[in-house]
């Protein structure tokens, strides 16, 4: 009996480590007889677990894009594209063996991701040395641009941009007596909290030293006690939604309902809404992400395309496209454009991506600096607020946070 138990335990561990979503996009190319090359695009990110809702929409949008591309919707392609989801759980440890496997697979010509900053820092060197282009739809730690990677591109603004979105709102609109700051200690969370702390200090606003919690914890009572003692009316949290939602809930439970929580893109998903429940109301998230329905209804020039995307997405996945869906779609489209231009190997595609200028995506246009950051003009920051259990679009951070006249 013991042996059976032991065997099952080992098997369970192995299965846990190897979990992977493979989605060969179906739909034969319309050409049929011409010899098409099979290429793979890998998506790296947390496709299950606590952080899933921050990542899954980008993956699904890319899946949709490649599926449509294979049917010839975007013109004839010299390749048949397969997208594979590599479920990293959001951690560098889990991403590491997956990365090793991917770099050795010569049919892999591009990567979307890694979705988070910590895992990007953990495996980026390997992708860069293998010469695979890797475009992240959502990793925002500033330090990622300092690794000297020549195959890395960031499809959104970075933490400094997020801070520039959040800090003026704190300064001009919330105008608190002081701000408490905490993070989850990750590359993303601590990076963002530290920048916000510095920017608030530079403005000579009163700000408390950063406290750090452990990700995955349930008990934040010590942090709540400290926030209560500090007495600040604003609490900035650098981190992700599962922890952020619990902290918000425990703060409200402890009588800190009036303290406004402000965070970055890591908070802006449905996990935050469900975990914090009613307590989440009034929380502000600064996000480089674009909400598809808000952009479409806001009268964007490409509103028709976005509306088509939303209905296709809903038809395929039975849900609305969430955070980073448009970015995932856009990055997939950049790869598709490279294939259309006849680039079907790692070097050619990297070269193509590096040289795109004002690539028209659904979320924004894309042009990259030599270090892999977007041009500043492409890094718009938006503010969202949890109102009645929904993330409500407040608008472009610059407009929303303008000092009252």
């Amino acid at each position: 009996m013991l042996r059976v138990l032991a065997l099952v335990a080992v098997a369970a561990l192995v299965a846990g480590a190897c979990s992977k979503k493979k989605t060969p996009t179906t739909g034969a190319s319309s050409g049929g007889t011409t010899a098409t090359k099979n290429v793979k695009i890998e998506f790296f990110g947390a496709l299950s677990g606590d952080y899933k809702l921050l990542v899954i929409h980008g993956f699904q949008a890319a899946e949709l894009a490649f599926e449509q591309a294979n049917t010839g919707k975007f013109g004839k392609l010299p390749v048949k594209i397969t997208i594979e989801g590599q479920d990293t759980g959001g951690s560098a440890e889990q991403a590491s063996p997956l990365a090793d496997k991917v770099v050795n697979d010569s049919s892999v010509v591009g990567i979307i991701g890694p979705a988070f900053s910590g895992e990007s820092a953990g495996v980026g060197d390997r992708f860069d040395q293998a010469g695979i282009p890797f475009i992240t739809p959502s990793a925002t730690d500033d330090a990622l641009a300092t690794h000297g990677w020549t195959h890395w591109f960031r499809g959104v603004g970075n933490n400094s941009d997020e801070a520039k979105g959040a800090v003026p709102y704190i300064q001009n609109i919330l105008a608190p007596n002081c701000t408490s700051v905490a993070s989850d200690g990750t590359a993303y969370g601590h990076g963002l909290a530290a920048i916000v702390f510095n920017q608030l200090s530079d403005l000579s606003l009163s700000v408390k030293p950063e406290e750090q919690v452990q990700p995955g914890q349930k008990d934040y009572s010590a942090l709540v006690s400290k926030v209560a003692s500090a007495g600040c009316k604003v609490f900035f949290y650098g981190g992700y939604s599962p922890e952020g939602g619990l902290i918000r809930k425990q703060m409200t439970d402890a009588g800190l309902k009036d303290v406004v929580m402000v965070g970055g893109d890591g908070l802006k998903d449905d996990t935050f809404l469900s975990v914090s429940g009613k307590s989440g109301d009034s929380t502000i998230a600064a996000c480089p992400c674009v909400s598809p329905s808000d952009v479409a209804s806001g009268g964007a020039a490409n509103a028709d395309q976005i509306t088509t995307f939303i209905s296709d997405y809903k038809a395929k996945f039975g849900e609305d496209p969430g955070i980073y869906a448009l970015e995932g779609w856009d990055i997939a489209q950049i790869y598709i454009a490279a294939f259309k231009a006849g680039k079907t190997d790692r070097a050619g595609i990297t070269d193509f991506v590096r040289n795109v200028i004002n690539f028209p995506g659904l979320a924004k246009t894309y042009s990259w600096e030599p270090d892999g950051e977007l041009f500043p003009a492409d890094r718009t920051m938006y503010l969202y607020q949890d109102k009645g259990g929904q993330w409500t679009f407040l608008g472009n951070a610059k407009d929303v946070s303008a000092p009252p006249a």
Binding site: M1, L2, L5, A6, V8, A9, A11, A12, L13, A15, G16, S19, S48, G49, D50, K52, G89, G185, P209, E210, E211, Q212, V213, Q214, G216, Q217, K218, D219, S221, A222, L223, V224, S225, K226, A228, S229, P242, L246, K249, Q250, D253, A254, G255, T271, S274, V275, G277
Partner: protein
């Protein structure tokens, strides 16, 4: 009955005077540190801050104490550090959740303001009972399948320890996989019980402030946790020190061979010990779930480690020591962060543990069950 003389690791009695001097120096050092910290502005300046940290510390400490009992009792009778006890606790959080939502039908949408009155009492009692039972049965099955074969085969203590770690990993990974998807290449879907993402507890009891101490609100949920924990600890204390089965547990802990010669059924005592330890962990799991609002496959890890620490702090194998250790650990780790960042919370807890063990290697109350 167990002897309650305090002894050092070598077995020599500690002289009362040296003992007293040691404590006096320790407390004086802590006092000076605190005075300097408050005077220089490094520590919490408001009394309300200290009160707030103390109340959360006591609430958590009560939960640690309940979990710590399982570690300490099993160690007492088997000299086994049952690291899978944290998973026994985890199963309690799930059993409590499903009792509340499925058996009593309490969901957030149906009762947005929680339930009250007699129904609330019924829900909580039912949930504590079933969570305790689920965990107790888990612990007993664990003993039967994993530890008894080792005992019969005369395995080394290292064998026990590795088995315990294996059982712990097995259970947490099993709950990770029970997410309603197909796994391990099997053609059917696994039952959707847990999975990677946390499951939320409904707000069973509407949160209200019952009274205030120095302006710090004390909530009904905190009172619930502490009250239930104290009642369960008292019942357990009565069970261990005042009943025949309890006497059996203490007898086996002290000298299994003599106990068995006196007609004590060791196997039965071990099963009872696992069951009672599991019962307490299940009750703690329910309280933890109600207090923090979540159940998850890895929820037992941190409270488990801390409860183990609490058991060692109080004197592993010592039931009252585990209770004291739990409360103290909860207080220390919360009060400790009054002076430094909360990222140091685990460091403080373990530094205190190391310090205590340096001066009192057998823990605060010594190692014997019934000490």
């Amino acid at each position: 009955m167990a002897v309650s003389t305090r002894v050092t690791a070598e077995g020599a009695p500690i002289s009362g005077r040296r003992n007293f001097l040691g404590w006096a120096i320790f407390l004086a050092l802590v006092g000076i540190g605190l005075w300097w910290g408050i005077a220089s502005g490094h520590c919490e300046q408001h009394l309300s801050g200290w009160v707030r940290l103390s109340t959360t510390g006591l609430t958590l400490g009560a939960i640690y104490a309940m979990i710590a009992l399982g570690y300490t009792m099993v160690y007492g009778v088997l000299q086994l550090l049952n690291f899978a006890h944290s998973e026994v606790f985890m199963i309690g959080t799930f059993a409590g959740l499903y009792t509340i939502t499925k058996l009593f039908g309490v969901t957030g949408s149906k009762y947005p303001n929680g339930v009250g009155g007699v129904f609330l009492v019924a829900v909580l009692l039912g949930a504590i009972l079933l969570a305790g039972l689920a965990s107790g049965i888990t612990a007993v099955v664990m003993e039967r399948l994993a530890y008894r074969p080792l005992r019969k085969g005369g395995a080394s203590r290292l064998g026990y320890l590795i088995t315990a770690i294996g059982v712990s990993l097995f259970l947490s990974n099993l709950f990770l996989l029970l997410d309603g998807q197909t796994h391990l290449g099997l053609p059917f879907k696994w039952p959707a019980i847990a999975g990677r993402a946390p499951l939320a507890y409904p707000e069973t009891m509407k949160l209200t402030n019952v009274f205030r101490i120095f302006g710090v609100p004390i909530q009904n949920r905190q009172i619930l946790v502490i009250a239930v924990a104290v009642v369960m600890l008292l019942i357990l204390d009565f069970f261990v020190y005042r009943t025949q089965a309890g006497m059996g547990i203490r007898a086996v802990a002290e000298d299994p061979e003599t106990a068995s010669l006196m007609g004590v059924n060791i196997t039965a005592i071990i099963v009872i010990t696992f069951f009672v330890g599991g019962l307490m962990a299940g009750g703690a799991g329910l309280l933890y779930g109600v207090f923090f609002g979540e159940a998850q496959f890895n929820i037992g890890f941190l409270p488990g480690i801390k409860a183990f620490t609490a058991a060692v702090l109080g004197g592993i194998g010592n039931v009252r020591g585990a209770m004291l250790g739990g409360l103290l650990l909860g207080l220390i780790e919360n009060l400790g962060v009054a002076c430094i960042g909360i990222q140091w919370q685990p460091v403080i807890a373990f530094a205190v543990l190391v310090l205590v063990l340096m001066f009192r290697p057998t823990g605060l109350l010594g190692e014997q069950v019934g000490g």
